[in-house]
Amino acid sequence: MEKNINNDETRLFDLIESTPFSELSISDRLFVESQITEEEFTLQRRIMSDSSEIFPENITPHQLQTPSVKNVKMIPLYQALLAISAIFILFITIWPNPTEGTQNQLTASSKVQNKKEFIHDTIIKYVNQVKIIEKTVYDTVVELVTATKLNFQEPKLLEAVQTLSLPELNKEMIATKGVSLKDDNSSRFTLKLNNFR
């Protein structure tokens, strides 16, 4: 930080800048001599006055070179209107119709819905065809069992050829050839049930 000069220094500086030493009043001269010598006073004054001569003053500055300014040309009003309308028509032509866009969008969304239903139907079909689906409802399984029964063929017995020849039954073969119990001698060994009544 630069320190400010005091009042004496200010007065001295003002005197050096404004008045030659020879023209100083007596009081000013006494004051100056109390601060610096006459030579120093003269030297400082000369520094101030001669400094303007040390640099050349006759140098001409170059011409100003500014960036080129764009010339703004005015065009007739009809040209401006034509240009605007042409741009508008071009815009209308190129830009897609907003209504068509909505319809397309609706179609697309409905397609998505159909697809969802189709997936749902497919799931039901899979169930009927006894494809194994983990989340199959129990009722559906019962129905599937029925369907399975219908689909299964009845198991058939082996069709063996009759190889045994059986005799034909007749009266002789059926006729009783034994003796009755009352006539049989061995009947005496049988229990007489009538005795227990």
Partner: protein, 199 residues
């Protein structure tokens, strides 16, 4: 927008700046360049250690900056104070560039030795030493000194340009002059003649 040249010439600096601000007036900028380019070139030459080419570039850059930063101008204030504030800031930036400082110091040494060997007249010799002592000043002292004793600005204007107080300007001028006098003291012809007498 095309403006009549007579109108441009009759307008003051601040009115021209308003034209630049409001209408991007190219003729107004050219008129300002016409009025201030020489003064600014001289200032830049002094500040940039006689590097005339660089000073010319600085003048160009300064007027381009005016176009770019025209919105920063306050029409209530003086134009030339504002333009020298920009110039001062450009020099400050240049002084921060070590490459520029090295070139100027080297260039100065060559000139000084060459001139000494040529036995220049007393006045030329004094001016040469004055230039040397000026270049040896610190940037803020040099700026203040040049604005006051070479560009002849008032103390208040210097305070505005350097964005400091009046007291600081006086202080800088006082110390700048003292430092230069200290360096020049041994080359004072009066002291020199005394030395010869003693010898």
């Amino acid at each position: 927008m095309k403006l009549h040249p007579i109108h441009i010439n009759q307008k003051n600096d601040e009115e021209l700046m308003v034209l630049i601000m409001d209408h991007h007036s190219h003729p107004a900028l050219i008129e300002l360049h016409k009025r201030y380019s020489k003064k600014l070139l001289g200032y830049f030459i002094k500040m940039l250690n006689k590097d005339i080419d660089k000073a010319q570039d600085f003048v160009q850059d300064l007027f381009l900056k005016i176009m770019e930063k025209k919105h920063l101008f306050d029409p209530e204030k003086k134009f030339y104070t504002w333009i020298f504030t920009i110039a001062n800031n450009m020099c400050k930036t240049a002084y921060r560039n070590p490459f520029l400082q090295r070139i100027s110091e080297d260039g100065y040494e060559i000139n000084s030795k060459a001139s000494l060997s040529d036995n220049l007249a007393e006045k030329e010799f004094f001016n040469l030493l004055l230039e040397k002592s000026l270049n040896n000043l610190e940037e803020h002292h040099k700026t203040t000194f040049i604005l006051r004793f070479m560009e002849h600005f008032s103390l208040q204007e210097i305070a505005d340009i350097t964005e400091t107080s009046l007291g600081t300007v006086k202080s800088r001028l006082f110390y700048a002059t003292q430092k230069m006098a200290k360096e020049l003291k041994e080359y004072n012809p009066k002291f020199e003649s005394n030395l010869f007498k003693l010898n």
